[in-house]
Structures are given as structure tokens and as C-alpha cells.
Symmetry: C2
Subunit: 607 residues, 2 copies
């Protein structure tokens, strides 16, 4: 061992002990004939004092930032104590030192507020990882890992490894593939998830399975996606939805306790998918704040059970009359927004990411009057009625959004989140969990005139919908009337866990009956041959006593980033890739040798 | 929940409780009007009693092996108790039952002694996994995983995930590669180990890292190799060899305690690589038994410090005189082997895997006389002297092996293991750990007239050999005299952990000085450009304060199989591949779509 103690370990009770430390030079400060050095390791920082007697040696062996140093000395009480660090009461009077390795001047400072830009920090990730801010993220990641494992172990789950070299069955996302040298012309795929394997483990009776496991998707990378990502993957036998919800909300509460010391004692709210869309405009609402949507107008088929209140906005205003959907939100305390401020919001809504043509506003003035950008078309009585329906208080600003259903709903949802952020309703240190339930099982794919699985092809319908699925032909005879097809209203036995407006986990009760699984594959446009080729092993397994089962998978990277109060999952991954899927530090991917092409019996076919 | 209890849970104190169980039908036995069913799940087996009143229902819904059943009934005391199972004192008087899923007749029996052959069991692995023998293996695997994690957590190690999509730097084994769609013409590689990443984490100051992680090698598969395998991968900062040995022998002892309830209190033996080769003929000796080799003749350069005793076998016997090496082992108690028995051993040694031309024998008869197959060339006095040198006792059979050094040594080692096995010296339930130390750093590659790293290119030489490495040119001027090159005698700062004759782990203190690492790469025949292309990131990292560090990796599959008393790692992997790298259950690898080729911009180039 190069040390007797770490740099985070020494306290006042160690005074007069002879110690040896090793670590990195954080700072060097010279005061006359003495030199102070802050020595850093994973565990902390310790102040070193080099007296006059070491000056010659220091001159011959000058120290620099990030040098690796081994020192021997005596622990002494500091005259100037530093209350901000755990070792702040002591320093080491150095007797001798040895430079274990030198360092070039780092391309950016190793500090929380570094001067390094994103590209530079990624290229020198091994230096970036030294920064306390990044280290804390990886420590949090390990703490979540440990907490999850302990919880699942207590509950009887077994970690069982599933294979990484599997079969390509593209369905939704693209597979990464791996040419097989021993089977020329054939390829493995890297798993997008261990889905079918964990189901097979249930068929094998393993009862409670988990894995914290890498998964792979070859997708064009949006801002915060990685081609390889980590899932907490779980599956259970002989369960219904309620069992899963209770098991895994308890798990996340345990993580809150272990990692953040938060007692999340509230019961986790639940909401149907339809209520989420109706009240928040999306399926992963941030329920840390209200500002629910008021649906003044909407197409009848999207929310068949909801009451039409469009008479409230009956007028000559063509924009509303022509719109499929008109939605309003009442933003608290913003009735005194200036023209400049509302114009800025209009510009915000017109950006391509949002895509609306404009916004209308009603100010609920503190004097009880109403003032609107659409005064021309609405009487004050009408404005008041709208405001009351929106549950607006005096002092609120009502924002109205109109246009086609899907875009308008999404835009209003984004607007709500944006206003929530601006008004400080979305606090990093407040955590609100939510289960979203009762998703539709299918979506309609217009281009192929067939169904696609909203979750994945192994999700079971609600028990009450099984007969509807079995007893009807999935083929859509009349594309124009797909909404009237019995499959359009089938609900999935699926659930998403949402934390502060982010989907952190999702799962479902699975199909375990061969006939139902075949019906599902058929609905997705797979004929018997394709079913057999891609999923013959699963259909085969379902012939030999498959039990009822279900599970869930959590996005581990995302969960960590939210717990860490960050928007970016990259900050919680030791060696992330950039938006082109490159690791700029090691310069991968890269070209391979002619010999490798030759052995794999493939060649390039560049366009 | 489909159950109130598991099938392994009910005891005598549950009597008269109403319970619901779910599981698989293991056996059905009819006795007159009543039917006994053994219901199985992961946790055990419970006996169900179907009375006469359920006969009509059973006739309408006949049960079969591996059916999934849910039953409701009352716990009752058995008249015929079964002491062999934990639930053997009770049975369930069934009130009602429901078949949750039927099963076709399984292609083999779900029992410890199954009638299924290897191929069938692999194809139906989801059924094979139901067998208790396989389940116990996976439970042991999880127990080892858990034990290792707990130990390393206690010691301050952090689990940090390293990337799977990295850069191809073929060095030794072949990489599996992954074409990058977003970077056409470029490929990722799957990691053969996280070696360089864990070293970067040390450069980043993470101090103690571990991971239980999948690794990949595209090698022709020998009997017990898998293209994907799991490592317990560990690394530490500021350590010397002794620190690693102590940390990790304690870890394995903890695993023995947690998993096998064995108190391994003996200190772990240590042996140099040279002593291992001298006494046992290989670098991973099984030290559960003695039968050490006696080196009657050997080439001077292989064991420069050992005394030449070849005068003992001076005679007219051409086989010995022409041989480079003559090695003997004394096999206890076998002096009365018949001619048939010794002939069988000769045949054994002639098999191509062993490759010897023959064996000679000396019988140390119980009457004190000696009888040998080479009596013609040696006097009884000579035989006696040889026997004494071999430490043979009366009643022993001395086997002599002669030929070229490498083959003869290996053959004698195999012979020793074979005789040890036949004589019952290699017990599954006895465990002997051993550290093998002081390996040569380099091996000589004749075809390229250069050095290859015996361990890997990041292993440091012994501290005392660093100057030899730095101050000499690695180029071998005269291939015939490579043994005289200063690099030939450099020892590695490396260590292997051996358990019962299997290498279960290996590691080293690493190079952390840029200049030394460059010298190492140069010795392996890499010029500066190739060094920069392949390992520029590592050489770069060594410029910014790399600390002394070292680590170890354990073969997790192998460790589990030895602890489980099995020769085959496949029995300890949930979904293994066969010798052609195929998963016969899911039928992978397989062909991919034209669209996939098109997107990846590659095509086949089949020979």
C-alpha cells in the first residue's frame, strides 16, 4: 500500500500520528518559505504543509496540478480551520515526499465549475471524471444500484444473466447486429431488452427475476439518448397488475430512502392514460403542480366519455370554429403580463418544435374584469364563463391554444411545462411519483393499415378484453373506419411509472396463452411463417405450461439523472457516447482490418 | 396474486388454514377414488389431495405433467410423512382447482436424472431450466454474485459500468465487431474485457472499482468456452501485489463461507511460476494431492537454478539419452498394476491430446525389490536410486515420461492429474486455493521474431526489472539466441489464483508510466503510429497523473462451476451457446434482412 490513510479520513483525533498519504495535487499555494498543497483522492482533500526544510527538494522536484504525490508526515491541528471539508481541522506537516507521476497541465480545470466545454471534457473524459460533480453522480448511480439490489434480494428476486448475442427480430427499433465468423452469412443481434428471455425464465418457473443490464438500440440519437443504456429489468410469476404496482412503488420508495434520505410516505397517485391526456395533454404528466388543461373543444372520438362544452366558445371567431381542438390553461398570477411577454409566448409556441400558429389570452384582472386578445369575438360574460370553467382565479392568465387535436394537445402540454418551469413549480428537490394505467393496447399504423403494439407485442390486454381480441379478426377492412374496429378500444394490462414528468419505468402483464400471442402477432401483420421464424421459441415455450406473469423495466440512467437533479443522462454515465454514437475519447467506432473483413466474410457497400 | 403461499412454504403449523397455491404438476398418482398431485414451483413441492368429490371435475379437465395449476384447499397433516422434503409433513385437501395453462408432453422428464440428451435439452432450455439440478446451479451463481458484491461493497469498491460498444484493437483474441449505421464503414467492437476502461477509472481516481460484467471473444470454441462469458472485474489504486493478494483471497474465502458454508481458514499457498512448472508441469497445479514431478533430465535454460541430476539415468537406453526431458512421478500404491493396466496407461499417453511415444515404469515392490520395463538398461541399484530421488515408497509405481521439454512436461502434468483422479485424490468437496506468482512477462513469438505479452500488454514488470526494460532495445537481433535477450528473463508483476487445478482469476500490477507502456507496445511490434491509433487514449491518460494501480479478474462462470462441483460451465449459464456459438433454442445467429444490410452499408462476401 502506498498510503496508511485516505485523503478524506484524518480528523482531530489523529493529531501527532505519522501518516502516509497518496493522491493528486489539487492546488499549490506558496506563503513565503512554506508551501500549502491540497491533496485529493476519491475520499476527500487533505491540506499538506511543506516547511522551509523541503524547499530545496521542492525546487529540484517542482510540483504541478494533478501530479500524483506520495507524502509522509505528522498530523497537526490547523490554526485556520476549514469547516467546509471533513478534514478541515487538520493538516499534515510533511517530512518527505515522492512524485509518483507527473502531469501535463490539464486542458480544463478539475473543479465543479470547470472551464472545459462539452467536447473537450468528453475527449478527456478521464479528467472530467475527476471532477467532484461527476464523481457524485457516479456515486449516486452506484447507491441506486445497491439499493435496488438489496430491495429485490429481500423480496426473493434472483439476478439471472441473459445472453447478449441473440437473434435479430427487428420490431420497432433497429437492432445492432454482430456478424458471426463461425456461421458465415449469419448475424447475432444485441438485445434491445431481455424481454423474451425473462419471459422464458418465468416459463421455467424462476418466479422472480431481475437484472441490471445493458441494452442496445440503433436509433438516431435525440438529445438525451444513448445507443447503449441500462435497464433495471424485472419479472414475476403468478401476479396481477396490482401486485406489480405495489412491489415496485415500494422499491422506488426504498431508493428514495437509501439514496436521498427521503421518506416518501404518500401513496403513489394513479391515473388512467385517458385522464392523463385529458388533463395534462401527455402520458407522463408532471404532477408536482396543477394548471390542468381545460378542453373547450375536442373531437368526439378521442374522449368518448367526456361532455362537449364547446358552446362556451360559440362565436364568429374562425380560428376556434375551424379548429379540431381548443384547449386552455390558467396560469396563476400572470394576468399582468405585458404585450411583450405575451408576444414572447406566441413566438415560443410558433417554434417548429411546438408548431402552433398562435395563442390567445384572457387576462383575469385583479379588479374582476377580463381583458382578452379575442375581445372582438367574445363578450365579457363569455370570457367570464370560460374563466370559471378553467377554474381561473383573479390575477390568472388564461392561455388558449387551437388547432388539430394531436398537435394542439402536445403544444398545450409543453406550454404547461414551460410555464410551470418559469413559475418555479418544478423543483429539483421535490419528487412526485405517478402510475399511468389503462393504455390502449394498439395504435393504428396508417401506412400499413394494421395495428402496432403501443407497448410491445407481449403485453396482454385487460382480462375483460381477451375475448374481444380472440373472437375478432384483426384485419382492418375499411381504413377510414379503423376507430370502429373492435381492436381500437382494447386496453392494455400495462403501466408506466412517471417521476416528475419523466417516464422512469414501464411494464405490463404478459400474454401467456399461445393462441392469444398468435392473435397479437397477426394483428401486427405477421403471418404464421414470420411468427415461427422470429418467435417460434416463445410460441413453443407457451405450449409447455406457461404461467401468468408480468414485469417492469426501469430506465436506470434516467432514474439516476432525475434523482441527481439533472436533465442529462450523460452526466450519470462513466463513458457516454455523443449524438453521433461516437466515443470521442477512444475514437470509436473506427475502421477494421482487412483480415477482420476476410474472416467475417463481409465487405463494405458504401453509398 | 394467484397464491397465498409458495409450494415450499407450508409446514405442520399451517394445519387447517385455507390456502391458495399455484405451480406446475410434477406427478399425478391415482389411488382408487382419490388423486395425489405433486405441485412444484421454484421454492419446493407440495402434495395435493383431490378427493372423490372432485372426480367428475377432474375427468372433464384432466391434468397432465407440467400443467399450470391453481388450487384452493385446507392444509392437513399427512399420514405418510416424507422426511426428504421440507413440506413433507403436510398435504392440501383440495376444495377447488383451475387449470391456468395446459402443457404438451415434455420431450424429456423434468427430473434430476432426465432422459433428455444434450441437444434436446439445449433446444428446450426453458424446460431444462425447470430441473432441480439446473435451478440449483443458477441459485449458486446468484449466491456467488451476491457474496462478491457484499464483500466488495464493504471494502469500498464501486460498481461502475464500462461501455460495450468500444474500439476494435485486436491483440491476442479476435474481437466481435458491430457495424455502425451512423458512421458508415466503421465498426464498434464488443469488449474482451473492460481492461483499459478500468485503468482509466484509476487514472480518474475512482480508487476501487468492480463490475460483474459480460465479455466477448470470437475464438474457436473448445469444449468449455463460450463466446460471451462473465468476469468479476476489479481494480485498485495505490497498491502493490501483496495488497491485491490479500484483498482477493479474503474475497474468495468469504464466498466459500457464504455459498458453501466452508470456513477456509488455511492461509492460501503461494508458488512461483517456475516452481509450479518444475513440480507440477503446469502453471495451475491442483494441490489437493502431491505426486510431484521428479525432473531427471531437463534443458539447462528452462530451469537455470536447478541442479542437474541426469547422471542418475546414465545408461545405454537411447530413449532417455535422446530425450530433451525425462520426468517421473511416483504413483502411490500402484506397484501391483498388471501388464494390462500399464499397457492401458501407455495407450492413454499415446492419444493425440497427450502425444507421447510411450511410458516406462518402475514398480517399487512391497518386498523391497524393483521391477522395471527398462530393467535391461538399469541395475537394481540404479532403479533404487531413481526411486529414492522420486521419494517413492514401497508399493508405489513410478511412471517415467521422456521426450521434448514442452510436450513431456505437459504430458506428465496430465498423467499426474489422471492418476490423481483415478486414485480419488481430486474430491469435488475439497477446495485448495493457490497463488501462482512471478510469471515471465514475455513469451517469444517465433513466426514474427518478437515478444508477446504473456498476460496482457498492460502488465508491469517486477519493480526491479523496470530499468532492464527501459534501458534495452526490445528488438531481437539474433532469433537463435532470443533466450539471451535481456527481456527473456523479465518477470511480470502478475498473479493467478488457482482453485483445484483451475485458473479462476488472474491479474497484475499495471504499467502507469507512459514511457514504459510505449516500450511494452514496441516490444510487441507496434510502431508509434499503431500505438497511437490503438491506444492513444491510454497513453494520453498516462500524461495526466496516472497513479500506481493493479487489479484482477475472475472467471465467474468457471468459479461457479467449480464451487458447484461440475466440470462444465454451461450448466451454470442460463442460456449457453453450443460449440459452434449457436443458441439452438432461439436459433441464433441467423440471416438478416436486405434492409438491414442496406442501412449498415455492408454486404456478404462469402467464400
Amino acid at each position: 500500500m502506498f498510503r496508511t490513510h485516505t485523503c478524506g479520513e484524518l480528523r482531530i483525533n489523529h493529531i501527532n500520528q505519522e501518516v502516509t498519504l497518496a493522491g493528486w495535487v489539487q492546488t499549490i499555494r506558496k506563503f513565503g518559505s512554506i508551501t500549502f498543497v491540497d491533496l485529493r483522492d476519491r475520499y476527500g482533500i487533505t491540506q499538506l504543509l511543506f516547511g522551509e526544510d523541503l524547499n530545496t527538494q521542492l525546487e529540484n522536484n517542482p510540483l504541478g496540478r494533478e501530479f500524483v504525490l506520495q507524502v509522509k508526515g505528522i498530523v497537526a491541528e490547523r490554526s485556520n480551520k476549514n469547516k467546509n471539508i471533513a478534514t478541515g481541522e487538520i493538516e499534515i506537516n510533511i517530512q518527505s515526499f515522492q512524485i509518483l507521476n507527473k502531469s501535463a497541465v490539464p486542458p480544463f480545470t478539475i473543479q465543479d465549475d470547470t472551464d472545459g466545454g462539452d467536447d473537450l471534457r468528453m475527449k478527456y473524459r478521464f479528467l472530467d471524471l475527476r471532477r467532484n460533480a461527476v464523481k457524485k453522480n457516479l456515486e449516486l448511480r452506484y447507491a441506486v444500484n445497491r439499493s435496488v439490489r438489496n430491495y429485490l434480494h429481500e423480496k426473493g428476486f434472483m439476478d439471472i444473466e441473459t445472453p447478449f448475442l441473440i437473434k435479430s427480430t427487428p420490431e420497432g427499433a433497429r437492432d445492432f447486429v454482430v456478424p458471426s465468423r463461425m456461421n458465415p452469412g449469419q448475424f447475432y443481434a444485441l438485445p434491445q431488452s431481455p424481454q423474451t428471455f425473462k419471459q422464458l425464465l418465468m416459463v421455467s418457473g424462476y418466479d422472480r427475476y431481475f437484472q441490471i443490464v445493458k441494452c442496445f438500440r440503433d436509433e438516431d440519437l435525440r438529445a438525451d439518448r444513448q445507443p447503449e443504456f441500462t435497464q433495471i429489468d424485472c419479472e414475476m410469476c403468478f401476479v396481477e397488475q396490482e401486485d406489480i404496482l405495489q412491489m415496485f412503488e415500494s422499491m422506488i420508495k426504498q431508493v428514495f430512502k437509501d439514496v436521498k434520505n427521503i421518506d416518501y410516505t404518500d401513496s403513489v397517485e394513479r391515473m388512467t392514460w385517458q385522464e392523463a391526456m385529458w388533463n395534462f395533454g401527455n402520458d407522463k404528466p408532471d404532477i408536482r403542480f396543477g394548471m390542468k388543461l381545460t378542453n373547450l373543444k375536442f373531437p368526439a372520438h378521442t374522449f368518448p366519455t367526456k361532455k362537449d362544452i364547446s358552446s362556451l366558445i360559440a362565436s364568429d371567431f374562425a380560428v376556434f370554429n375551424d379548429a379540431e381542438t381548443v384547449v386552455a390553461i390558467a396560469v396563476p398570477g400572470c394576468s399582468e403580463y405585458s404585450r411583450k411577454q405575451t408576444n414572447e409566448l406566441v413566438e415560443w409556441a410558433k417554434r417548429p418544435q411546438i408548431g402552433m400558429k398562435g395563442l390567445a389570452f384572457i387576462k383575469c384582472n385583479t379588479d374582476g374584469t377580463y381583458k382578452s386578445t379575442i375581445d372582438k369575438f367574445f363578450t365579457e360574460e363569455q370570457l367570464k364563463a370560460i374563466a370559471q370553467t378553467c377554474n381561473a382565479q383573479t390575477g390568472d392568465l388564461i392561455i388558449l391554444v387551437a388547432g388539430p387535436e394531436e398537435r394542439t394537445r402536445k403544444a398545450t402540454s409543453e406550454l404547461r411545462l414551460e410555464m410551470g418551469k418559469r413559475l418555479g413549480f418544478r423543483k429539483d428537490d421535490e419528487f412526485k411519483l405517478l402510475w399511468v394505467l389503462d393504455f390502449p393496447l394498439f395504435e393504428y399504423a396508417e401506412e400499413d393499415n394494421r395495428w402496432v403494439a403501443r407497448h410491445h407485442p407481449f403485453t396482454a390486454p385487460k382480462p375483460s378484453d381477451i375475448d374481444i381480441m380472440i373472437n375478432n379478426n384483426p384485419v382492418i377492412e375499411n381504413p377510414a373506419e379503423y376507430l370502429k374496429h373492435p381492436y381500437a378500444n382494447i386496453k392494455a394490462n400495462a403501466y408506466d411509472m412517471v417521476l416528475n414528468g419523466n417516464e422512469i419505468g414501464g411494464g405490463s402483464i404478459r400474454i401467456y396463452q399461445k393462441e392469444l400471442q398468435q392473435k397479437m402477432f397477426a394483428a401486427l401483420g405477421m403471418d404464421a411463417e414470420e411468427q415461427q421464424h422470429k418467435f417460434g421459441f416463445l410460441l413453443g415455450a407457451f405450449e409447455y405450461g406457461a404461467p401468468p406473469h408480468g414485469g417492469i423495466a426501469f430506465g436506470f440512467d434516467r432514474l439516476c439523472s432525475i434523482l441527481g437533479g439533472s436533465e442529462s443522462i450523460r452526466d450519470f454515465i462513466a463513458f457516454p457516447k455523443n449524438n453521433s454514437g461516437r466515443d470521442v475519447m477512444i475514437d470509436a467506432p473506427s475502421e477494421i482490418d482487412a483480415k477482420q473483413f476476410d474472416e467475417l466474410q463481409i465487405k463494405l457497400n458504401l453509398k
